[in-house]
Amino acid sequence: MLNEMNSPKANRLAGGDVAVIGVGMTKFGELWNKSLRDIFVEAAMKAIENSGVDHIDSMYVGTMSGGLFVGQEHVGAVMADYLGSVPIPATRVESACASGGAAFRSAFFEVASGYSEIVLAGGVEKMTDGADVTDALATAADQEYEVYHGITFPGLYAMMARAHMHQYKTTREQLAHVAVKNHKNGSLNPNAQFRSQATLEQVMNSTMVADPLRLLDCSPVSDGGAAVILCSLEYAKKLKRPFVKVKASAQASGTIALHSRESLTSLDCVSVAAKKAFKQSNIKPYDINFAEVHDCFTIAEIIVTEDLGFFEKGKGGISVEQGLTSLNGKIPINTSGGLKAKGHPVGATGIAQIIECYEQLTGNAGERQIKNAKLGLAQNMGGSGASCTIHILEAI
């Protein structure tokens, strides 16, 4: 059976041949005056300038649904064209909300294989142009056997939340603590959609969306783009600019429908991908100094931090309540503000997580800089847990 973990080549490549050499992103939020292509090109230009490279050999664009949000498919070509990069190869990568992570992983493979020297991995989404966002996002679930029956994404995560509360006595307040923490972090991030803090009371009293999840448990509807430049480690050294090493790249899938999963309180795709990533990099969860995780809803952060192995199963809620995941906690989670406060332009999210890791590892995270950031983890997820990418990045 094909097993990436056991492949000698995968282990060698993940050993540290690839570097992230430059990053760029737009502010996340409601960018009324910017189009899908404007947003992407702005982020990509910044990344190219930031990296100091004079060209890119190839590019990957992560976007969930240019088609449903703005009626534009073939996004790879559109972006290469407007970036002035034709005729380089340009491919759109889609894995729902994990499109960014999957685009990064595709770029990683291309560099690691030695096929290209410099590759751009970007992500973009334009969600505020008037499309039915709930409908468009729901296409990441099982259309025929979940969405047909009126379920929404907040609804799917609400069902996980209720099961988690039932099984592990996770409290409603603990969910709210995730939002409070991430808003606090977001207030320190100039690119975040929400720079305002939220109190526990505000979260607990916000509009009920899908019981038990309220409006402030949910990541917002956002526009935004993010891009990073990957190259070989040798090439990165020549550029004499700050860079970080890609220490592991892992991915796993899960069943498309939530109801098909054995456990409704775990995300198997996360634990499987995490095991692969830790094995590739030969480290343990407790070696990680900070992580950007896919907190599309507050419950997701709680479950993901458990399944990544940061906390014992069922202890994710109490951990956030005790401040273990705060900026100055044992393992800071979502220092950027996460999807919750930074914003969640779906396809851009996975790349923006890599960017936060890069900023922390290169000491450029400003007011939210954590101490001794040596190893950062980025976990990006699609659907209700049908896709997961995990990348571990290391300071050089």
Binding site: A138, E144, G150, T152, P154, M159, A210, L264
Partner: protein, 129 residues
């Protein structure tokens, strides 16, 4: 126009037809070509049990456009007596009375309309026993 897609799903939506693996007995709903458990490709068609219990649920307060006039409504993951699981609305109930573990049975209801001019789309919903 969703006619071809709707028509194709009728055996599952109307009659809860599933595929039971002849090798390991796992029930797949909807039917699959490969058993997710033992990878066998041999199935027999079975009808799912119409009774079961709620494993988890939510009350949708903000619905998609198609369902926005029906809020609040309950959507649950239900484990049927034969072990199969599905997602369905729980209808005809006080949304505050639903709990994990509540026993339900499946009934035939209209699930959604394809706009004002299109198809009425039917299927299964659950009611509390």
């Amino acid at each position: 126009m969703i006619s071809p897609k709707y028509h194709r799903e009728i055996p599952q939506r109307y009659r809860l037809e599933a595929g039971k693996c002849k090798q390991c007995g796992t029930i797949s709903f909807p039917p699959r070509l490969i058993c997710p458990k033992c990878k066998s490709k041999n199935f027999e068609t079975v009808q799912l049990s119409r009774e079961g219990k709620i494993l988890t649920f939510t009350i949708i307060r903000v619905g998609p456009d198609k369902f926005s006039k029906e809020t609040p409504y309950v959507v649950a993951i239900i484990e049927l007596n034969d072990g199969a699981r599905l997602t369905a609305q729980v209808t005809d109930c006080d949304v505050n009375k639903v709990e994990i573990g509540t026993k339900v049975k499946l009934v035939f209801r209209k699930i959604q309309d394809e706009g004002k001019w299109g198809l009425h789309c039917y299927g299964y919903k659950a009611i509390l026993i």
